[in-house]
């Protein structure tokens, strides 16, 4: 389809008298006038709300003051890199990178394989109705807002919350304080609640991949004498391996971006040591302390790293399959 179109265009171009790009563009703008008019609000939106903030990033290299505006604010010392250097030299730099990586990697290790295992277990369940019912229950946390989820977590792990009290009975914690006031528990609370929130929903993609496995492969394996376990190892898992690898690469591409919403709702000044990540630091410095330029510099540093990671991840997935992200 696409190929024949290209061919047609080529022949059309070679027959028609040669026109410059601008002439052709002029004709196209006239011919598809209504389409371009329809696009104007969208274009304006992207210019004002996406590209203008990108231009606003130059305040990372300036001493921004809201009274002077972006243009009139002076450039900072060290070729405009003052705020970057002061961030790299501060105690925050190491701590934020460490926390971001610890939270992110622990999340991947715990929450990435879990939905795959859940999908494999669901795949072995024969009772259709009951299976659908259980699956629906596992989606529930996905549909509850972050604020409510975090409000619940805070109450459950408070000193008198049922999780704290149950753990205290088992002798794991002493149960006199909120678990969120102990910096050693933060990563566990964040990751395990994340597991609870996402396991059911993230299994959907694997469940549908499993539904697409060719049933004849199982037939063949059965004839070869493979039992259910062997079929899983030799048929099921290889069939969904591509999906798993793609999802893993995508997940690794966002290893340096930990969302701020859930952390802001859960952490407190007493546990910044383990709970503060780059995005929450940017939020505090910029929006609470009004240290605009410094916060923008830290945010830009993080964006650039994220961009590099995502592009690398995309390149790898593109190599693995013709179907890239673009």
């Amino acid at each position: 389809m696409e190929l024949s179109r290209k061919k047609k265009e080529k022949t059309a171009v070679s027959i028609a008298p040669k026109k410059t790009y601008w002439q052709r563009l002029g004709r196209d703008l006239k011919k598809n006038r209504t389409a371009y008019i329809l696009f104007i609000p969208v274009l304006l939106y992207y210019l004002v709300f996406c590209y203008k903030p990108m231009y606003g990033l130059i305040i990372a290299f300036k001493d921004y003051s809201p009274y002077k505006g972006i243009l009139a604010s002076p450039w900072t010392s060290n070729f405009g890199l003052k705020y970057f250097l002061s961030f790299f030299q501060s105690v925050y730099f190491g701590r934020l990178i460490r926390n971001t990586l610890v939270i992110s990697i622990t999340s991947i290790v715990v929450t990435f394989p879990a939905p795959i295992i859940l999908a494999l277990l669901f795949n072995e369940m024969q009772a259709k109705k009951y299976k659908g019912f259980l699956q629906t229950l596992t989606y529930l946390p996905h549909f509850i807002s972050t604020v409510v989820i975090c409000g619940m977590i805070r109450m459950f792990v408070d000193y008198d919350g049922f999780i704290t009290q149950t753990l205290a009975k088992m002798g794991v914690v002493d149960g006199t304080l909120s678990l969120l006031s102990n910096k050693n528990y933060f990563v566990a609370i964040y990751v395990l609640s994340g597991l609870w929130q996402t396991i059911g929903w993230n299994a959907i993609i694997y469940i549908s991949a499993l539904a697409g496995v060719d049933q004849e492969l199982y037939e063949a394996a059965r004839i070869d004498g493979a039992n259910r376990w062997k079929q899983t190892i030799h048929v099921t898992i290889p069939s969904i391996m591509m999906t798993i690898i793609m999802m893993l690469i995508l997940r690794l591409g966002s290893v340096m971006s930990v969302g701020y919403e859930k952390i802001i709702l859960l952490y407190n000044a007493g546990i910044y040591d383990t709970a503060d990540v780059i995005s929450t630091f940017v939020y505090r410095k910029g929006l609470l302390d009004a240290d605009w330029s410094y916060a923008t510099a830290v945010g830009l540093f993080n964006s650039v790293i994220n961009l590099a990671l995502v592009l690398t991840a995309n390149k790898i997935t593109k190599k693995l399959t013709d179907m890239g992200l673009w």
Binding site: N32, A35, F133, M152, W196, V282
Partner: protein, 293 residues
């Protein structure tokens, strides 16, 4: 039926057990919240650990407090305003962008698509975005929750692939009949992409319903706060304001807890009731998004 080995039968029993357990773990915290919201608060405070049934005399005091709380009610109102007006803006903008970017003979299609996809990978980030909204004079206005988020690029790309999946011959035939692009979009394309449009309504709708962060940085006046921000202030920051004044001070802490649990129920029950019916649309969105991001 093929005969199953004994080990597989044992596995099946174990499998039913473990899956039921996982589903119950997903459900239990909400069950606990509901029980806590109707239990006698004094008994609840004395109790430690899990709950299986409500404690003491059933009480509706928590719910009474919730519905007497002005900010909760104005929060619902503000959320519904942002939800409906926001959805209209979202859908118009997303459909326009997606449709134009799906017209194959448009010369500027590629450069415009690239310009838009770039924003998925790189953005100004939190601070420049905030300063931009501030410069535009939208602070402390509900429009700050609608206009800056008018388009989600990933949603627009999902919409675009729906338009692209319509066979070429349909819009072309309309074009030969002299239809303008707006007419083609309205009469030919929209009826064909209705299922994807439903997915868009759900995706944008849920993101408006759940949003709290932007309102926390853009809004100042409490009467403008959407529900989630009111919830944040009560559940996370313990700002109860004036609502505890007519309660005897020795009962205040337990009434606060009761209020919090009731508030969670009131704000989440609507969603819990409708999600089983909507989940298949959401799942569809997950699949479209996975095939073509």
């Amino acid at each position: 039926m093929i005969k199953k080995s004994i080990s597989y039968r044992i596995f099946t029993v174990f499998n039913y057990f473990i899956l039921t357990l996982i589903a119950l773990i997903c459900l239990y915290p909400f069950y606990y919240v509901i029980l806590a919201s109707i239990s006698d608060p004094a008994e609840f405070m004395r109790h430690n650990g899990l709950l299986l049934a409500p404690l003491g005399n059933l009480t509706m005091d928590g719910y009474k407090m919730v519905f007497k709380y002005k900010l909760v009610m104005s929060g619902f109102q503000n959320t519904f305003f942002v939800l409906f007006v926001g959805l209209v803006v979202n859908l118009i903008m997303t459909v326009l962008g997606a449709y134009v970017l799906s017209i194959r003979d448009l010369m500027l299609r590629k450069p415009l698509s690239i310009m838009i996809v770039i924003t998925m990978y790189f953005s100004g980030g939190m601070i420049p975005t905030y300063l931009n909204v501030k410069e535009l004079g939208m602070l402390d206005s509900l429009w700050s929750l609608i206009i800056p988020g008018a388009i989600s690029t990933s949603n627009m790309l999902i919409m675009r692939s729906a338009f692209l999946s319509v066979p070429d011959s349909l819009p072309e035939a309309a074009k030969i009949d002299g239809a303008t692009h707006l007419q083609i979009l309205n009469k030919v394309m929209m009826p064909l992409v209705k299922p994807t449009l439903a997915v868009m309504v759900l995706y944008y709708g849920v993101s408006h319903w759940n949003a709290w962060f932007n309102s926390s940085i853009y809004l100042r006046t409490p009467s403008k706060f959407p529900l989630q921000l009111v919830l944040r202030n009560i559940l996370v920051d313990n700002q109860m304001g004036d609502m505890m004044v007519d309660i005897a001070s020795d009962r205040t802490p337990m009434m606060q807890v009761l209020l919090k649990y009731s508030l969670i129920v009131v704000s989440s029950v609507p969603i819990i009731c409708i999600y089983p019916f909507l989940q298949r649309f959401f799942k569809k969105g997950v699949m479209i998004g996975a095939v073509k991001g």
